[in-house]
């Protein structure tokens, strides 16, 4: 793969885009996995429409997959791209705003037809000029024609032939960035070997054709090499946030000895967690695809009552439907994890786009005084850790926990050093096996204020729980005013006490300075990149990034007091900022907010921070 004109790069961002049926997600994934195997730092971001097959050739139907590879750790999938692969004019139009100055654009020349231009909403026959892209490095191979030529005599019908054209684009990118073919070939072999070996052969042949085209036509002045990143030793894999979430629960189940149960209803962008857990019958996982969101959480609550580690997975609208049942879990004091993979809202909103606007729903969206532990994961791979944490806290503290992720980290993926389960702690739920002297009191508590977990089948521990207010020890119905106050206070204190059981807040950077950037959840990669770049420039800026939302970790007040200014950055209109204001009223909180259904860009963050420094 050596090329005489190969230049070393630290970072490259490539965006693959085309119609939602063009196979761009696969193309991007193959490029990303190939690079991961080379040892690069990786971060990916799929950006696809809500429709499965939106009208062909329209801007609404464009599906994109961005991959950021680097010779260092990569925190985010990159704002702007060095290479844009556009399989048609609509893809070019949808993505031209994401081009870095001087970027390379590869567009299928066969797609530049009157029909396609019209569908994409171009007014002239020259999309390059119309978008003002004359100064970019535009390459226009006739990808469809070249794919057909490569597959002449292959016996494939026209439809199957044309479907291979995404591999032509992949071949070009393999040439440009000196990537080996092994992984893509092996993938295609395993995917099609049984069903249709001819299709596997064809796809492989088209990768070669794309590579040869790029090598022979001298359209590209140079090729590039991105050296492996200095990552810690170990075995790595690529993992998405949703899969990591599912696996984190499997880990918590193993470490607690409680069987894992997931009751869920399919909803974008959370469905993959249910799909992944459904595969895990091999680890004894039971999944119920319920008839609706409410049944999803209610089956989970039933399973929790019966002694399982119970989870339910959803996105914003589904969390709304689960509100009443979450209250039941609070009242019955049962362990339960509800995952909300946030998307743009309100209502159906933007199902495939990311946002952080369910925070206050998670904190407060229930009737009554109904406190609940809220956690947020901050990268695709740390979803594993926070799913584990959510399950640990739920079981050890006998409380429902909401775990917030978002469409960006749920669908995005990154390399992950695979931990050994021996690195993870045992989980000790307060399971009651036999009645203490004087009889079992369902609401008697331990030092964490957690009640005992005595599930059906345990001899001599028969008891009743429910949604009506409970007597503080016996658990039977009580309408006594003083008892209600006591129980309201106790439920709040139980959640507050979780703060003793989680790590203190640690800042990225110095503990004092000019500007403290505050974030939570899935924005960490972008915030950290922006903050680190400004730190490298000598700015006195630090990042406080939160994964534990309720209760907040210890050390927040101290952290906030070390800086001249504070700016809370979130993909909503200021929900975490309001929460902090309520808890620590002495500070002045600036805000940087965005509700575009897209992650922050490092560029816009730096611009904002510079304006505050």
């Amino acid at each position: 793969m050596n090329n005489a004109n190969s230049l070393d790069l630290q970072d490259v961002v490539i965006r693959f885009s085309g119609d939602s049926g063009d196979g761009m997600q696969l193309t991007g994934t193959l490029f990303s996995d190939t690079s991961a195997l080379l040892g690069n730092g990786i971060s990916t971001f799929p950006d696809y429409p809500a429709e499965i097959r939106a009208p062909q050739g329209t801007v609404a139907g464009v599906s994109g997959f961005q991959v950021h590879i680097g010779s260092r750790r990569v925190n985010n999938p990159g704002d702007y791209c060095d290479v844009l692969v556009a399989m048609n004019p609509a893809a070019l139009k949808a993505n031209s705003k994401w081009l870095k100055p001087g970027a390379t654009v590869i567009i299928d020349g066969d797609s530049i037809t009157e029909e396609h231009l019209r569908r994409a909403g171009f007014e002239t026959t020259d999309p390059i000029a119309e978008l003002g892209l004359e100064d970019y490095n535009i390459v226009v191979p006739d990808i469809t024609t070249l794919t057909r030529a490569a597959l002449e005599g292959s016996g494939l019908d026209n439809k199957s032939t044309v479907k291979c054209k995404n591999m032509f684009a992949l071949g070009i990118c393999f040439y440009l960035y000196n990537r080996p073919f092994d992984h893509a070939r092996a993938y295609l072999d395993s995917k099609f070997a049984k069903k249709n070996p001819a299709v596997a052969e064809a796809n492989k042949r088209v990768i070669d054709a794309g590579y040869d085209y790029a090598a022979n036509t001298h359209q590209f002045a140079n090729t590039y090499t991105v050296a492996p990143a200095p990552l810690a030793k170990g075995v790595y894999r690529s993992i998405s946030g949703n899969v990591a979430t599912a696996w984190g629960f499997c880990a918590a189940s193993e470490k607690s000895g409680r069987p894992l149960f997931c009751g869920s209803y399919p909803i974008t962008p959370a469905t993959v967690i249910l799909e992944e857990l459904a595969k895990r019958r091999d680890l004894g996982v039971k999944t119920v695809q319920a008839e609706d969101e409410i049944a999803g959480i209610c089956t989970a609550i039933g399973a929790a009552f019966a002694g399982n580690l119970a989870v339910t997975t959803t996105s914003g609208p589904g969390l709304s439907l689960k509100s009443e049942a979450l209250g039941l879990a609070v009242m019955a004091e049962l362990p339960l994890v509800a995952v909300d993979v946030q998307r743009g809202g309100p209502s159906t909103g933007l199902p495939t786009k990311t946002e952080q606007s369910d925070l206050q729903q998670a904190l407060y969206g229930r009737n009554g005084e109904c406190p609940m532990v809220v956690l947020a994961a901050s990268s695709p791979s740390d979803c594993f850790h926070y799913a584990f944490e959510a399950a640990r806290i739920a079981m050890e503290h006998m409380t429902p926990v909401i775990l917030l992720t978002d469409g960006f980290i749920a669908n995005g993926s990154e390399p992950w050093r695979i931990p050994s389960m021996s690195e993870y702690p045992e989980i000790h739920p307060p399971v009651v096996d036999e009645a203490p002297e004087g009889g079992y009191m369902p609401y008697a508590r331990n030092e964490k204020l957690a009640r005992g977990w005595a599930f059906p089948g345990k001899v001599g521990l028969e008891h009743r729980v429910g949604g009506l207010e409970k007597h503080s020890l016996r658990g039977c119905i009580s309408h006594d005013p003083a008892n209600h106050q006591l129980m309201v206070d106790t439920r709040a204190a139980k959640v507050a006490r979780v703060a003793d059981d989680i790590p203190e807040l640690k800042l990225f950077g110095e503990t004092s300075g000019d500007l403290l950037v505050v974030g939570w959840g899935g924005t960490k990669g972008h915030l950290l990149s922006a903050v680190e770049q400004l730190q490298d420039e000598g700015k006195r800026i630090s990042l406080a990034h939160f994964n534990y939302i309720n209760p907040l970790p210890k050390g927040v007040e101290k952290a906030l007091s070390g800086f001249k200014r504070i700016v809370v950055c979130e993909l909503n209109e200021g929900q975490f900022a309001s929460y902090l204001r309520q808890q620590f009223q002495q500070f002045d909180y600036g805000q940087y907010n965005k509700c575009e259904g897209q992650p922050f860009t490092v560029v816009e963050l730096k611009e904002k921070f510079n304006s505050l420094l």
Binding site: K233, L283, A295, G466
Partner: protein, 343 residues
């Protein structure tokens, strides 16, 4: 099974029963507490495995009066919670105490889907055709034209017949009783507990306060019930009436009430009840019989064994997949598929 024989007292909790005096629920509680010792014996189920789940409504207070594991959940969701309990632990004997509002209105979706899945639950459906706990609004089983607080001019919507709903959803077990018929209720519950798959026993229950005598036309007293209801038993002729000379025949694609010995009908013409018939046609017709055109059908109307019992099927699948998979622990899982090593 232990040597010890349970008695109804073993299933009575220390909580004071707070239903209105004269409420049909008292009789249902009595029937259940009498049925459980027999069920424990017949199905080899120890006391600690009985678990009662309820939703919201007068009927749902039931669980507090049972000295078993109990979970009083939220409105309409008892069947969903119970599905979770039973799937998590198929060894439990899981019961649902629910009403016509709880399971047929707000929880209608969970009710039909639990039936469709054939989860091995035993549902006791208290049907008093009214919302009692909220003090007298019409329910999905209230008769057309019923005057209540929310239908001061009479309802303009037709009721569900729970039996038709259960059998329509391909339920494998449906029985019906009347609150005052304690022994019949017990008989139905025992049959339902022995049945593998979801059993629904509808108990026609009287709400003395808000819907008194709603079933009285055919159920007021023993004599009325004898003439106006028919108790079906598998393998027995469909006969009713004090003289047991009236029966059901199938004619012109319909059920017809005849008197044996009149109009040329003989005992041979009278249908024999086959609760095990998979086809739902006749069971649906029997469940749908309405007074005064027909006697109201009681007893086990449908009891069909089906291998597809949800909770057991999930368990079986877990065992099969476990046996075939190379992934035996989370460490295996994390290292499955494509990985690479950085040395």
């Amino acid at each position: 099974m232990a040597d010890y024989k349970y008695t109804p007292a073993d299933f009575k909790s220390d909580q004071e029963v707070r239903w209105c005096p004269g409420c049909g629920d008292h009789a249902i509680l009595n029937a259940v507490q009498r049925a459980l010792p027999e069920i424990a014996d017949a199905t080899d189920t120890p006391h600690n495995k009985f678990t009662f789940i309820s939703g919201i409504g007068c009927s749902s207070r039931f669980i507090y009066y049972m000295k078993t594991f109990g979970f009083h959940t939220i409105h309409g969701r008892a069947n969903a919670v119970a599905t979770g309990v039973k799937t998590a632990n198929p060894d439990l004997s899981v019961w649902v105490a629910t009403g016509d509002g709880d399971s047929l209105a707000i929880g209608g979706n969970h009710f039909i889907h639990a039936i469709r899945r054939n989860v091995d639950l035993n549902v006791i459906l208290f049907n008093n055709e009214i919302y009692g706990l909220t003090k007298g609004q019409y329910s999905p089983t209230s008769k057309l034209g019923k005057i209540t607080k929310t239908s001061p001019y009479g309802t303009v919507e037709k009721p569900f017949n729970p039996g038709e709903l259960v059998i329509g959803a391909k339920g494998t077990f449906f029985a019906r009783s009347i609150d005052m018929e304690v022994m019949l209720t017990k008989e139905c519950l025992v049959a339902g507990a022995k049945h593998k798959g979801m059993s629904v026993t509808e108990v026609l229950q009287n709400c003395v306060i808000f819907n008194d005598k709603t079933h009285a036309a055919f159920a007021a007293d023993k004599a009325t019930r004898e003439e106006n209801t028919i108790t079906l038993r598998h393998g027995e002729k469909m006969l009713f009436g004090k003289a047991r000379n009236r029966g059901l025949v199938f004619e012109n694609m319909k059920l017809k009430v005849v008197t044996v010995g009149e109009e040329g009908y003989t005992l041979d013409d009278v249908l024999t009840h086959d609760a095990h018939e998979r086809d739902t046609t006749l069971h649906t017709m029997l469940a749908a019989m309405k007074y005064p055109d027909y006697p109201v059908a009681l007893g086990v109307i449908r009891c069909v064994e089906d291998d597809a019992v949800y909770d057991r099927a999930v368990e079986r699948q877990v065992e099969e997949v476990k046996a075939a998979s190379k992934i035996r622990c989370v460490d295996d899982l994390l290292r499955s598929g494509s990985t690479w090593e950085i040395k």
